[in-house]
Amino acid sequence: MSVQQGTAHRPWVDRLLSLNGWLVFGFLYLPILILVIYSFSDSRNVGDWGGFTLKWYDRMFNNPEMMNALGNSIKVAIVSTVVATVLGTMAGIALDRYRKWRGKQAFDVILYLPVIIPEVTMGAMLLIWFTQVLPINLSIWTIILGHIAFSASFVAIVVRARLANLDDSLEEAAMDLYANRWTTFRRVTLPLILPGVLGGALLALTLSLDDVIITEFVQGPGANLLPVYVFGLIRRQVTPEINAVSTLMLAISMLLVFISLGFQVRSGMGRNKEE
């Protein structure tokens, strides 16, 4: 009886839950959809549909400063992501593996700092660090270093979460079979934590692509990044050109997500075959 009662109630709860799911989905994605639609609108007013046009894209691609900023953004995002992913992954592994080293707890706390301190503070600190402590000239490289500084922590945290669920015996088995540490890492550990590493890398990429505050603090002459440029543009006026450039950024991000998903699926399949 009780089972039947349960099933009788279920569809109602299910429906509510799925409705909730759709609402959340709509809440998250409808604004993005509208942003994309209005990037094709032939009206200066962003909220006004004025017929289909590609002129905002045409204008965007012919705006040398904006294209320069887009190029810089992509350059910074790729370099900082690669470096942050390598550093972050190593930090994550170190924290998970070497349980007893001295100062680990301190390192642990410090690792979370870039995640929790306000961006303005981080930006100001990096600026002082680059210009007064090192001191180096501000340029696109200081932006890259700044982005590495905050995104490495995110990568480390994601990788650590993945490692926490990892069965140590898999690595021990590999070592039993005379695999040295490097081989064990390359053939066993890395493939197992790859989804975490890729997830961290994606996070780093996204953070880098839309950071305004830290970038503005550490930017150097001529090294304009797109988010800062767009932010400044909005101060003056909002035209669908902003929608067009946002759509382009969205397309690039989605492309990257799909590529990484593709990698994950492939590595997942590879593992299944080996099993």
Binding site: V86, I136, L138, Q219, P221, V228, R236
Partner: protein, 405 residues
Amino acid sequence: MRRLLILIAVVALLAAACSSDSDDGTTTTAASGTDETTTTAAAETGSELDAMIAACAPGQTDGDLNFYNWTEYIPYGSAAEDYEVTDLVAKFEEEYGVKIIQTFYEDNETMLAQIEAGGAPYDLIVPSDYMVSTMADPEVALLSKLNKAAIPNLVNLDPIFAGMPFDPTGDFSVPYQAGTSGLGFAYEYVDDSEGISWGLVFDPEMSEPYAGKISMLNDERETLGAALKYLGYSVNTVDQGQLDEAAALLKDANERIAAYDSAAFDDLLIAGETVVAHGWNGGFFGSFDEISTDDYDAYEDFGYAVPIEGGIIWVDLMAVPITAEHPCTAHTFINFILDAENGGELTNYTYYMSPNLAAHEYISTDILEDPSIFPSAETMAKLEFIADVGDFSLNYADAFAQAKG
């Protein structure tokens, strides 16, 4: 692991390589530093830059211009084409054979932080009025004294821009573009036939119909300044009694004010959320232009005016920071902007008031004859610049916080 070591080594080498050629980075550190050795270093390089500036001749260039400016504040590239004005960046590059490297900021304070920290060799910046007094303050001394002999076009400046409170001698800055703050309103609800008054906000009777439909700037000097103007006082008063009076007035009006907003005041007005909005003229016009189409003229529905009691005038200025490595090019560029034709084209693009009197004949009549961009002489006389009031600024902040509740 070995790869990582190599990477670290490379990064370290890069850092070392960069630091060796960044003398200016260390010198600007010194400018804000307190210990003696560094201050001497600052004084030395400061005088070095001063010597370079003193030797600049009109039209002389000494390298590419590192121009640190607000986003899209000079006609360039497709934006220039769009507005059908001269591409001033390309024109300067062609005329003088040097390049302009543009970097953008969208906030005075971040720009200040970058200049103060040094490490970026900007030759020319465009701070807003109050920021000039902050940066020219002898204690920080972030701006270099200009060589007026290298800027012959200074004669083109409108005399009302001489002796501004934040740079009385004009030694550190040259006006770029200017504008006012006042009230934007919807004609449907507000009658402007006898001029607009701050009473729309502060007079209990006059503002009654607009209760809950008013927005004010979230800025103590601007908003208390409006109340001070309504009372007939100076916006730069340091009299606590007058300030208290203004704060009490604002506190009274508080229940009728829907929002304190410095970013979206124009959008709120257009969206119908407000019918009376305190804001900067450029913000209103940008939005009115945006929603105007071939069949719809937003200027028929919305207006902007400096209230009859007077208001505040703002100005953005060009200045040469102490980080400059090419001060002569910077001077030549300032002179270029002060040229009558170039100054006209600049305003045809920005739709702001031009401080360049000679440029008026090149400014399109639509802009020049619009009293909300170029106020009448009568209105001009009632406008005030916001001056640095020193420590009294804390009293403004306190009064504003309390009035807002």
